[in-house]
């Protein structure tokens, strides 16, 4: 019997023909989705009576034209990237983390509380400490629904959404109460729900003078690389992916399924929490301040991060690229508003369209891949259509 271990055996059977359809669908599916969304966006700009070309020109210029724009984009991308990486991890473990918003807020609060508690520590200690506190805050806020899911079978969609609602109120309470700024006289600011100016020693240093580019950008990229290694090069990542694909098989293999599930959501929360800390200490105002809504603090990064991760194929490395692009979209949206008067909501709309196109085109990708990648060998050789997006997007390490 012929042994089929050698992969060259395939090559000898099929003539290497270029399959453009497959290439288009496997390599250009995501860019095509983006283009599709931008085209619909162009229609919307036109509906507002503006010129889409000049609108997009302003958008791209505002996002990527020059050092300042690039640095703004990079800074805007940081929370998206961190949340996105967290999403990569939790979705790989088959846990849908919709709680990024709350986890960001809790990370921000924990980091802020730390800076308020020990403001005099030197920067070399305080900066890592507040970042770790952010990680911790998010970790806890992710671990709770993770634990509930793993041990009490409480659906994580339910609990993460509910915890978002809890987080926003907790944030309002803390910022208007125990953590409120008591250093400025009441007459100056009234009772704005904000902390005092946080210790300078906790500020994230700017790494390129004259821009916004701060240490958080480097940290976020490093975290994404680490997450990649974690998922594909470590035993923990292996278990996490195994649990995500089949709880049953992981259980039979003796893996700690419940612990892994809890940890996956907690880790996802930790990354979001880190994003929260960076939002506070890498921001311009260097305080934590709210307008009473979660998005007022997070800028919806908890949701946008899902889009970013998805666009990055749930692969932390591609998520870096994707976060940068979406950061640019958000930053450029303001420039577009300036140039055309089309509200920045256009960017949100485009984002939604991107998601819809990506998940829809995935169907065609799946088919293209199955048709093209597994050429007929001999009758009776088994192949199976590959299932869903999450699985499809297994990066080849």
């Amino acid at each position: 019997m012929r042994r089929l271990l050698a992969s060259e055996s395939n090559a000898s059977i099929v003539a290497p023909a270029v399959n453009w359809r497959r290439i288009a669908l496997t390599w250009f599916a995501l860019p095509l989705s983006a283009v599709g969304a931008l085209l619909v966006g162009a229609l919307l700009i036109a509906a507002f009576g503006s010129n889409p070309i000049s609108g997009y020109h302003a958008l791209i210029n505002g996002a990527f034209g020059g050092g300042y724009a690039l640095s703004s984009t990079a800074v805007k991308a940081v929370p998206l990237l961190l949340v996105g990486v967290g999403i990569c991890i939790s979705f790989r473990a088959n846990v849908l983390n919709i709680g990024g918003e709350g986890q960001i807020a809790m990370g921000g609060l924990a980091a802020t509380a730390t800076a308020l508690a020990v403001p005099h520590l030197p920067a070399v200690l305080l900066v890592p400490l507040v970042l770790l506190a952010g990680v911790g805050g998010g970790f806890v806020w992710g671990a709770v629904p993770g634990f509930f899911k793993a041990y009490f079978n409480v659906n994580e969609i339910l609990s993460t959404i509910m915890l978002n609602l809890v987080a926003v109120q907790l944030m309002n309470y803390l910022l208007a109460g125990p953590m409120i700024d008591t250093t400025t006289p009441f007459a100056v600011t009234g009772k704005i729900p904000q902390t005092r100016l946080l210790s300078k020693n906790a500020w994230l240093p700017i790494i390129v003078h004259g821009t916004q580019l701060h240490l958080g950008v480097v940290i976020a990229v490093a975290v994404a690389l680490l997450a990649y290694v974690l998922l594909w090069q470590t035993g923990f990542g292996f278990r996490l992916r195994a649990v995500g694909l089949s709880r049953e098989a992981a259980t039979y293999a003796g893996m700690p399924v419940k612990r892994t599930t809890t940890l996956a959501l907690a880790l996802s929360g930790a990354f979001c929490g880190l994003a929260g800390a960076i939002l506070v200490f890498g921001g311009i105002s260097h305080r934590m301040v709210t307008d009473g809504s979660l998005t007022g603090f997070t800028g919806s990064a908890g949701f946008n991060g899902i889009v970013v991760a998805l666009f990055g194929g749930l692969n932390p490395l591609w998520t870096i690229v994707s976060a940068f692009l979406f950061g640019g979209l958000l930053v450029g949206g303001t420039a577009l508003q300036g140039a055309t008067g089309v509200p920045t909501d256009l960017v949100t709309t485009i984002e939604g369209l991107v998601v819809i196109f990506v998940v829809s085109i995935d169907f065609l990708r799946r088919r293209a891949r199955v048709r093209a990648e597994e050429p007929p060998e001999r009758p009776g050789t088994r192949t199976r259509t590959r299932p869903g997006l999450l699985r499809l997007m297994r990066a080849r390490a």
């Binding site: 301040v289 307008d291 009473g292 809504s293």
Partner: protein, 321 residues
């Protein structure tokens, strides 16, 4: 999220890095960063339309970024406008204070205006502006106290801060001055933007027997609808809201930031980039009580209200802050 596109195009090649002091021949560049929509019938609209009304007078080039309720995004924009050579950046929201405080030293040639608030952080290029909204609040509260039959009056604020807080305090004081036995209830929804919560709070008051309501912030539109549906009376602030509920709105305290802006522009032309705090009030024409002609207000109540206005304007009455 601008309804009305900005008057001029800020993306057009701007004087970057050059001198920012306004020399004759160059338009004076003003940027407004505001937390809600330009057409919110309240806080943001009051400032934007005031600036636009001065466009000719001062040869202004205006850029507007509205709906910047995410503070970190707003901060980024404020910084960007400052770095693009705008002469004046108006940070229209108390929550932007810290940002302005941080940025002002980095852009010493740019003038920042921050409100509503009472402090310039002792910096030479920050103006602060505020509204003595307690004055109009007092007047309207006084009328409310006289009008209410159920003796139950509901007050809804967004967050306990800035002019909202002043208005609420003044209103409460006015009600009690008119009727010591009245029952004034105050709720803060915790959000500047949540129309639904405001409406819900208004409903709670109605359910508890209130027949007069008032509220501050851009999120009151839903609550006004509730008042209208329940045939309760409504007092507004920041902007004339009569058109929203011609049968329910009694009167509104209307802001007019023009006096403040006049002072700021004059100061800047005179080379002074900040360091002063300006207040609009009933006295300087920055605030006005606009009666809704369509509301059947009893003449005696109206007369009592006008008497209080006169007292405040001529200084015989000063509502406590």
């Amino acid at each position: 999220k601008t309804g009305a596109p900005p008057t001029t195009n800020p993306a057009a090649p701007a004087a970057t890095g050059g001198s920012t002091s306004s020399t004759a021949g160059h338009p004076f560049k003003v940027a407004i960063v505001a937390p809600s929509a330009v057409n919110d019938l309240a806080f943001t609209e009051s400032m934007v339309s005031a600036v636009q009304s001065l466009k000719q007078k001062y040869d202004l080039q205006i850029a507007i970024s509205d709906n910047q309720y995410v503070v970190s995004d707003a901060a980024n924009l404020i910084r960007q406008y400052a770095s693009e050579g705008y002469n004046l950046v108006i940070a229209h929201g108390s929550q932007y204070g810290s940002t302005v405080e941080q940025l002002a030293p980095q852009f010493p040639k740019v003038s920042f205006a921050w409100g509503t608030a009472g402090s310039t952080f002792n910096q030479p290029n920050i103006f602060a502006y505020q509204a003595a909204s307690n004055e109009g609040g007092y007047v309207q509260g006084y009328m409310a106290g006289l009008m209410s039959k159920s003796k139950t009056i509901g007050v809804i604020g967004p967050i306990n801060v800035g002019d909202a807080q002043l208005y609420v305090d003044g209103f409460k004081q006015g009600v009690l001055a008119a009727d010591k036995t009245a029952n004034v209830k105050v709720t803060f929804t915790g959000s500047f933007s949540d129309v639904g919560l405001m409406a819900t709070a208004a409903k709670a008051y109605i359910a508890n027997g209130a027949d007069v309501l008032t509220g501050s912030s851009q999120s009151v539109v839903g609550a006004i609808g509730v008042a209208k549906a329940a045939k309760a009376a409504w007092f507004g602030t920041q902007w004339d809201q009569s058109s929203l509920a011609p049968t329910a709105v009694v009167s509104c305290q209307v802001y007019n930031w023009v006096p403040v802006l006049d002072q700021i522009f004059t100061a800047i032309k005179g080379g002074k980039l900040g360091g002063a705090t300006y207040t609009i009030g009933l006295g300087n024409g920055g605030e006005k009580i606009q009666f809704n002609p369509g509301y059947p207000l009893s003449p005696s109540v109206k007369a009592a209200g006008e008497k209080e206005i006169t007292a405040i304007v001529d200084g015989t009455l000063t509502p406590a802050q």
